[in-house]
């Protein structure tokens, strides 16, 4: 029993990991089918896990209602919306007033998707504009060298990406070096330089470290050193 509970999962992880790794270097139909099949299997496994998620959400809201926790009335909204959307997609007939059933165009499901899901999603995304402004304000108040550097780079970038940046640049005195004309202040030039030189280079430094960590964690998983994800217990 201890073998089934402890060793077997590690063996499965090892065999699956090594197979998926090695197959990358082997050009063959079997190798392609292996990875396609594996990805499909994972989708199925995750698909079943979704049931667990839904149960968790429903349980969370039911509990809220039963315990009459603050704002429990809104839990009814969630549960009702969930039931409506699920029923719209699953019931095998067209709802009154709608031409189609299930998820087809012209169905209740589609209507709900288009007039509730999409606008709320787009709104939450667009709200980011306000948040980025307040984040910038937060950066203004910070008094460290790092924060100042960040802010200066951000301001140059922002000004360089709007028409006013061009106006400022053109208003500054110009001078010639060789064949090229340069402006004393040239936001367009500066933003390009910021993006392509320090930004690209620092990102590269960060990412190289990240990729090494990812290689390390993959190796640890394959060789059974990393097994937090299997949970503890026996």
């Amino acid at each position: 029993m201890i073998f089934l509970k402890r060793q077997l999962p590690i063996i499965i992880a090892f065999v699956a990991g090594i197979m998926m790794w090695i197959r990358y270097y082997i050009p063959s139909e079997v190798s392609t089918n292996l990875v396609d099949g594996y990805l499909e299997w994972v989708r199925i496994i995750v698909g079943f896990a979704a049931i667990l998620g839904i149960l968790s959400l429903l349980q969370h809201h039911m509990l809220k209602i039963r315990m009459k926790r603050p704002g429990f009335a809104f839990s009814y909204v969630t549960i009702a919306a969930f039931i409506m959307m699920t029923a719209a997609g699953f019931l095998p007939f067209a709802f009154p007033g709608f031409a189609e059933k299930n998820m087809e165009t012209g169905s209740l499901f589609n209507w709900l998707y288009e007039y509730t899901f999409i606008p709320m999603q787009a709104t939450m995304f667009s709200v980011l504009a306000f948040f980025i402004a307040s984040a910038a304000f937060r950066a203004f108040r910070a008094r460290s060298m790092e924060a100042t550097l960040l802010l200066v780079a951000a301001i140059i970038m922002m000004v360089g990406r709007v028409p006013i940046g061009d106006l400022i640049s053109n208003a500054t005195p110009a001078f010639m070096i060789g064949q090229n004309e340069y402006h004393l202040i040239d936001f367009e030039e500066w933003t390009g330089w910021l993006l392509n030189v320090p930004n690209a280079a620092a990102k590269r430094g960060i990412l190289l470290g990240v990729y090494l960590s990812q290689i390390a964690i993959s190796i640890r998983i394959i060789f059974g050193i990393e097994r937090t994800y299997m949970g503890g217990g026996d």
Binding site: T123, V127, F130, G209, L212
Partner: protein
């Protein structure tokens, strides 16, 4: 003639848009309603997508039409995850996690090397050419990559020389973050403008008589 469903839908959509916008001000019942509705709708959507685009075609159809019974293995593993509800059977879910995580580790390892690590490394290695400007830039890139990598050394104490170099690394990292921040601002503003445009344009659908 605009269909009634579209007029009604647009009213609802614009109403929900305003409810979600009220989040900027502070938490309020309108936002709470919108948030909870959005949650329910999105989970309902998720259930449908999971079933109709995964379970139904990959399990039911695969078995019924293509007689592919291999899908029983991931199905059983999926059921193992569900068995977590029963504490004495919860260890079975480890088999599914082992296959999922172990397989993905092996799957992503060579891909990380191929499409992430090596390209970043080879892009750093550029010859010095193209006049004084590009050569200076190339040197700055080398210094920045170097000092950033030093910053991420964990087994070295960041004092004296190492400390100074890693400090330089932080300077580059902060300039990079600033550039990234500034670059994103405009994109976010245009999203907001797009949303306002939607509300304005919806007026013609909400009040059909205003359409010329």
């Amino acid at each position: 003639m605009i269909p009634a469903g579209e007029v009604l839908g647009t009213w609802i959509a614009v109403g929900l848009t305003l409810m979600m916008f009220s989040f900027i001000y502070k938490d309020n019942p309108a936002f709470k309603f919108g948030e909870h509705l959005y949650l329910g709708i999105s989970v309902g959507y998720y259930v449908n997508i999971q079933y109709w685009s995964t379970i139904y075609p990959l399990v039911f159809q695969a078995m019924k039409q293509q007689h592919n019974y291999w899908v029983l293995i991931p199905t059983i593993l999926g059921i193992f995850i569900l068995l977590r509800i029963i504490p004495s059977m919860s260890w079975l879910s480890r088999m599914a996690f082992a296959l999922y995580i172990g397989g993905f580790a092996g799957y992503s390892l060579p891909l990380i090397v191929h499409s992430l690590l090596l390209p970043q490394l080879s892009q750093t290695l550029q010859p010095y050419s193209g006049g004084p400007g590009p050569v200076i830039n190339q040197i700055i890139i080398l210094v920045a990559v170097f000092s950033t990598l030093i910053y991420f050394f964990f087994s070295l104490e960041h004092r004296r020389t190492v400390g100074m170099i890693s400090r330089l690394g932080i300077v580059f990292i902060m300039v990079s973050f600033g550039a990234s921040f500034g670059y994103t601002v405009m994109a976010r503003i245009s999203l907001l403008i797009g949303r306002f445009q939607y509300i304005i344009e919806s007026g013609h659908i909400m009040f059909p008589w205003t359409r010329s």
